[in-house]
Symmetry: D2
Subunit: 141 residues, 4 copies
């Protein structure tokens, strides 16, 4: 299975007064993992947007196991879970360098036109990407 | 059912280059709704922390229906869904002033000691709060 | 002098592990004060952007006197300091409800075209706004 | 002169609806540069906090020359400008990979006790750090 591994140094600004990383930041870390996953398989999200295509999120699930702390480096693992031509599901696993499991989660995305947020088919607007995702899913089966 | 209604003016800094509110901000809005819900039923989260009690999040579910935009005022509705003495589930519904449904979601929380993050029972450490939540849940049944 | 007063409840997510509001958030609070100042004198920044005009920041000065804390409501005072047709300087003063001075600062802005970030004259593209700022400055003298 | 160079990939969440990085994020990037500068000269800000010492910011100056954009990698240069035993001034310069100058700035810091935010002398509480800063400043003269 194609997995992207991204390392992140926890930022001071990401902590809150509990002394741990504020829970909203994991969504931002997922986004970084997802961007790097896309880069790893040969595409570029910034280019996709330049072509007038956006990939907004429609659903999130997050489970917090242990808190990340300032001074730590965390590892985000990102992989493609499902792709049906309309919806793409990514899964994530975040650990620290002691291999404590911190957070697991998933996000579901669609593809829309930048101008009007109307859904479009990746198969038509970005066929190479569509084909790559189809192949990645097939390898899993 | 006890529901808190909180109004929020979308901040410019909450938008991203899609021209909509970045999806991570809804978790911060949920937190504001939750804080105000707790205030509405007669307690105060800041006081709780001053007593050495934290209520970290262990699970999030979020569904994005429509994007919030800069210039809009959104309304967060927050209510208590379940409370079993250990875990508390809050639910949320965010709409704009045209009554478009923007986001729905839920968060699950536990209660821990500030010093060591060990779980504690609200029944023992903050019995009034425990009783209020028990009563709110009973009214629902 | 025309001053806008905006109240903000400190958000939990705005704190850091020092137990105080992270210093970057005051720039976001200044932005909220500025937006409300503009509303108070009869204009709307969201409309300005809809007309293809942006007002990016070119300079910031910030002095931190006392920290804001979770549980507090702060008051942002915003006023127009200078306007020369090209550059606009706003000043800010943030206090808490005990009237402790927390932060003072200023921001300088220009006006540019949304498409290409080229500078434009407010006098030509939004003459009512230009005239209002000229009048506000004159009243000061 | 001792300069730390830190590379940062712009995060999607750091953009705003102008299509550029929101101006508040540069303060967070300065903080990352400062943390890495401290690491480079042999210390660790997380350890300093564990010893009960905080280094809050008391003054910021920021000049925005060109906007950072999503898809770019930026380089933060951080160096020590002045240190008088009480106040430390760091300076920063942020560029992109085309060597466009994006932002310059400075921050001034004091050292305080974590418990009560009372000022302390680094010379007494952390003499090695004090000596290193004295030496760095002397080399400049």
């Amino acid at each position: 299975m194609e997995i992207n591994h991204t390392e992140i140094d926890v930022r001071y600004a990401e902590t809150d007064q509990m002394g741990i990383v504020h829970h909203s930041n994991y969504l931002i870390w997922f986004e970084i993992g997802r961007t790097n996953f896309i880069k790893q398989i040969g595409f570029n999200y910034a280019d996709m947007e330049a072509r007038g295509i956006l990939s907004p999120i429609i659903d999130v699930q997050l489970s917090y196991k242990n808190p990340a702390k300032y001074g730590e480096t965390v590892i985000i693992e990102t992989w493609l879970k499902t792709y049906d031509g309309i919806r793409t599901t990514y899964e994530y696993r975040i650990t620290n360098q002691k291999e404590d499991l911190l957070v697991t989660g998933s996000t579901i995305h669609v593809v829309v036109k930048k101008d009007n947020f109307k859904p479009i088919l990746l198969r038509k607007t970005y066929p190479e990407w569509h084909q790559t995702y189809k192949n990645l899913i097939k390898e899993e089966e």
